[in-house]
């Protein structure tokens, strides 16, 4: 990476915006807000959007189990089949989806690591609706970095981070990356990487 930066003259600066305890507190608060808004944990289904949303969903369900004593079903959603940019780049990888309960009548909490353009959330909502007619769909994210391209907002936000479009927000989670952290990488000059997607 360093060699590349020297060669291209692109300077890259990385800022740590959340440490492990921050992430823990944020997920704790989100879990409590979910219970508060839904008056408990009855008829809840928590669905993590691949990849890191899945681990966040499991953690949130764990906190709810501790507090309410209710085992909330946790699902996994891969949105590749629902993307709106199919045919414009190489076929994205499709991984498995597992929705463990009938979502009809349930309050579905979609969980993702970063909310950016809103296109992933749109795809995820379409996918959930193909499985049934939920009572409601709510969105929980660890980071909201702005720059929405669709009329979508999150119901539960761990942290709002103002970013420029070209910056990258990297979420690391213990289960996958060995550590819990959120970093913001600024990249200059602008406009080099227009394909930066939320989350990945």
């Amino acid at each position: 990476m360093c060699a590349l930066e020297e060669m291209t003259g692109v300077s890259k600066e990385s800022v740590r915006v959340m440490e492990e305890p921050d992430i823990k507190r944020a997920l704790n608060r989100i879990a409590h807000e979910i219970m508060e808004k839904n008056r408990g944990a009855q008829d809840l289904c928590i669905i993590g959007i691949r990849t890191r949303g899945v681990y966040m969903a499991e953690r949130i369900a764990g906190i709810i189990r501790e507090v309410e004593g209710v085992a909330v079903p946790v699902g996994t959603l891969d949105i590749a089949m629902y993307r709106d940019d199919i045919g414009t780049k190489p076929s994205p990888e499709v991984r498995s989806t597992d929705i463990p309960c009938d979502v009809t009548g349930m309050s579905v909490i979609l969980v993702d690591d970063v909310l950016f353009t809103g296109r992933s959330a749109r795809a995820a909502m379409d996918a959930v609706i193909d499985f049934g007619r939920p009572h409601s769909i709510q969105l929980a994210v660890l980071i909201d970095r702005g720059h929405r391209e669709l009329p979508i907002r999150a119901d539960y936000v761990g942290k709002n981070i103002p970013t420029s479009r070209t910056e990258k927000v990297r979420v690391a989670l213990r289960e996958l990356d060995g550590t819990d952290a959120v970093d913001r990488d600024s990249q200059e000059p602008e406009g080099l990487d227009s394909s930066v997607r939320e989350g990945s």
Binding site: P90, S91, S96, D126
Partner: protein, 305 residues
């Protein structure tokens, strides 16, 4: 993944490509278990089944796969078309191209027809069986089925039994199984072995009973009944006696042997009715898996830029 412009034969795929297709198929399998068996992935794409030869499962399988991905499907059967008025393969393909189809799934009695199509027209070409040449999606679904039945293809001892010479399934399966690390033995009468079979790099045997105790998979090829008229084997009963899979032979095979067949089965010829209904025969799983694998292939060919 950037898919090939045309899928003609297994040898154009690397083992990584095959791995990608099998993993993608695994993800698509779930779609067929939903109440609403449809995802919007390929909406707006049009595929055509261009079949110059009879087919039940391959054509239906491609049609179901395309529809579950929301693609539009046109069906073309040569018998009911202008082909019966003498229209050539090339003109037929140019007509389809002019109608804006995105992919042509072609079956033809002449080897090389899909390859020619890929030179003439823009749409993606998928070979659904050409003459005695290749049937790549059958080989992919066989790999997928075997992997599900045994956990892993690598190290599996596979006997491909029957008419090796005239079988496009045998050719594609031999390549696919070998590429993924299986050990393949070709079994059949000398008259049904292709000339120069040694060059395939597989073991060859003319004695099924000798092979049976040491194989994990018995892949029974369909006897193409029309071949008997060419005098390549004396009669069906003798063939069945020497190369048919019956309960007696199953008893001498390892207890957990997997029996496969590309369909349609000739009960009482290459496979006895009892073995056809044996739970170790995974022919219906092969059909189920065919849909998921063809969804993955269509996605690979049409889901990219």
């Amino acid at each position: 993944m950037r898919g090939p412009l045309s899928l003609i034969d297994i040898d154009q795929l690397s083992s990584e490509d095959i791995q990608w297709i099998l993993e993608t198929a695994e993800s698509f399998e779930e779609v067929s278990t939903r109440a609403i068996k449809k995802v919007p992935t390929l909406r707006g794409k049009t595929v055509v089944n261009l079949f110059y030869e009879a087919s039940t499962r391959t054509r239906l399988s491609f049609e179901v796969a395309a529809k579950r991905l929301s693609a539009d499907v046109l069906n073309f059967a040569a018998q009911q078309s202008s082909v019966s008025k003498g229209e050539s393969l090339k003109d037929t393909a140019l007509t389809l191209e002019a109608m804006g189809v995105d992919a042509i799934i072609v079956r033809h009695s002449s080897a090389g027809a899909p390859h020619l199509l890929s030179l003439w027209v823009e749409p993606r070409i998928i070979n659904a069986g050409d003459g005695m040449h290749a049937h790549p999606t059958q080989a992919l679904l066989d790999l997928y089925s075997l992997r599900k039945a045994r956990g892993d293809v690598a190290g599996c001892r596979v006997a491909l039994v029957g008419d090796i010479a005239h079988s496009r399934v045998a050719r594609s399966d031999l390549q696919a199984f070998s590429k993924m690390g299986a050990e393949v033995t070709l079994v059949g009468p000398p008259t049904l072995m292709p000339a120069g079979v040694e060059r395939f790099g597989a073991k060859v045997s003319h004695d099924l009973d000798e092979v049976i105790p040491d194989c994990d998979v018995l892949y029974m090829l369909r006897v193409q009944l029309e071949r008997q008229a060419e005098g390549l084997f004396p009669d069906l009963r003798e063939y069945s006696e020497l190369y048919g899979l019956n309960s007696d032979r199953m008893r001498r095979a390892p207890r957990d042997v997997v029996v496969m067949h590309p369909g349609p089965m000739n009960r009482g010829v290459e496979i006895s009715a009892e073995v056809a209904d044996d739970p170790r025969n995974i022919v219906t799983d092969q059909v189920v898996n065919g849909v998921a694998v063809r969804m993955a292939v269509l996605y690979m060919m049409l889901g990219g830029d």
